[in-house]
Amino acid sequence: MNKFIKLSVLIIFIQCLPFYASAGSDGTISLSEKDKPVKDCFEKINRTTFAFNQSLDRVLFKPIAKGYNKLPRPIKNGSSNFVGNISNLVTIPNNILQGDFKSAGINTIRLIINTTLGIVGLYDAAEAMGLEKLDKEDYGQTLGKMGVGPGCYLVLPVLGPSTVRDTIGNFANFSGGDPFYNITIKHDTQYFSEPDYYSTRATAALDFRAKNLGSLDNLEKNSVDFYAAVRSLYLQDRQKKIANNEVATETMDDSDWEEIEEQ
């Protein structure tokens, strides 16, 4: 498994090299310039993968998410809290890598309180004690924060929208960056096994899908190009998360509006 992961990382890195080269030559994408538009280098393949993911969603994920939504509220909240608590294991090292030691401290205290008093994270005891939930951080965001540009837009089978940078960031999880992966899969411990990891990841995905059932249906119904709408929303969301900026105006390019003034 480890060899496969290392090989996959290497292949992705090698594939990235032409993007780095073209970034400098055509000027349209640059992995070091955050504000340049993200290029959809593999749009045909991405659209095919997107269609495949949609079919998979229709026959598998959506029906399960609908069923999940019918569960009693305490069960849904419990599983959402549980996966949220485990995600702190990736968020904390990324807080530190981004130099945000205050958030790292808060998330560490939240993790300890919720794992103990919150019964393995099922109940958000820390929030009840006044420690508000903070935003999640991942290795893709940390790379972005360090100035690495997104590279090309990608649609991954099953996993959905991503970029070259975010995919590389995901691989960091399997290379020692995710303590939960380390104790469930990488190292043979007597307490956890592989299904613990995969079931937790599947629950996190299901929780996300269930929370967005209505909004995604609505978006699909009212889009003239659903693929492009999802791409735009994903890239805006990543841009916002990397900037850790709550200011809405950052998402708009005012120059276009200025031109409209003069029409």
């Binding site: 190009d225 735009s232 805006q236 809405a248 276009d256």
Partner: protein, 194 residues
């Protein structure tokens, strides 16, 4: 002459004061619109009637023409006057249909304006919260209000949880045009068929 100049200045200040004092603040403007929409959505009207009422609100308070040209991006520079006119009509129909059918799915949404941020004399961002329900968490909605004319405020964008709808729309349109050999007529056809 000096007297006339002073009188002109005084009149100008008076009317500016008058227009500003009568103008509604961007926060109140948004709260009024959302309350109005909320009343329609929670009423006993049929789905069609609700959509028609929502269309009326949007037509009156949203800068549909401005958003239309914004979402066209650089392609708008190459349009002839006839194409501009055709596009404006198509976009308006599309926008109102899409906007009202998005909103009509919500029953009794409660939006509370929490603050506003004046960006410059032309724009103010109004921050609001769509209250949580048992099916979804609380949602932050920011409104980009065009304030150039204080007596006729207009909405130019909705930013939901930091994601701009105008920008998303712009990228959708751009994708359609670029995947059809940069032919803007392909977008017109898509809008017609929507």
């Amino acid at each position: 002459m000096k007297f006339i100049r002073i009188l002109k200045t005084a009149l100008l200040i008076f009317f500016l004061f008058l227009s500003n004092s009568f103008a509604i603040s961007p926060s109140d403007f948004i709260q009024k619109i959302t309350d109005n929409a909320s009343n329609i959505l929670s009423s006993n009207l049929s789905k069609n009637e609700k959509q028609n009422k929502l269309k009326e609100i949007a037509d009156e308070n949203v800068d549909i023409k401005g958003i239309g040209f914004y979402t066209l991006g650089n392609y708008r520079k190459n349009l002839s006057d006839n194409q501009k006119k055709e596009y404006s009509n198509l976009f308006k129909k599309y926008f109102l249909k899409s906007f009202s059918s998005r909103l009509v799915e919500y029953s009794n949404p409660k939006i509370t304006v929490v603050s506003q941020e004046i960006l410059n004399e032309k724009y103010t961002i109004v921050n609001s919260i769509l209250d949580a329900t048992k099916d979804r968490p609380e949602i932050k909605i920011d409104w980009r209000v065009y304030t150039k004319n204080p007596s006729k405020l207009l909405i130019r964008d909705l930013i939901i949880e930091g994601l701009s709808l105008a920008r998303t729309q712009k990228e959708e349109f751009s994708s359609i045009i670029s995947s059809n050999d940069n032919n803007v007529e392909a977008l017109f056809k898509t809008l017609e068929q929507f």
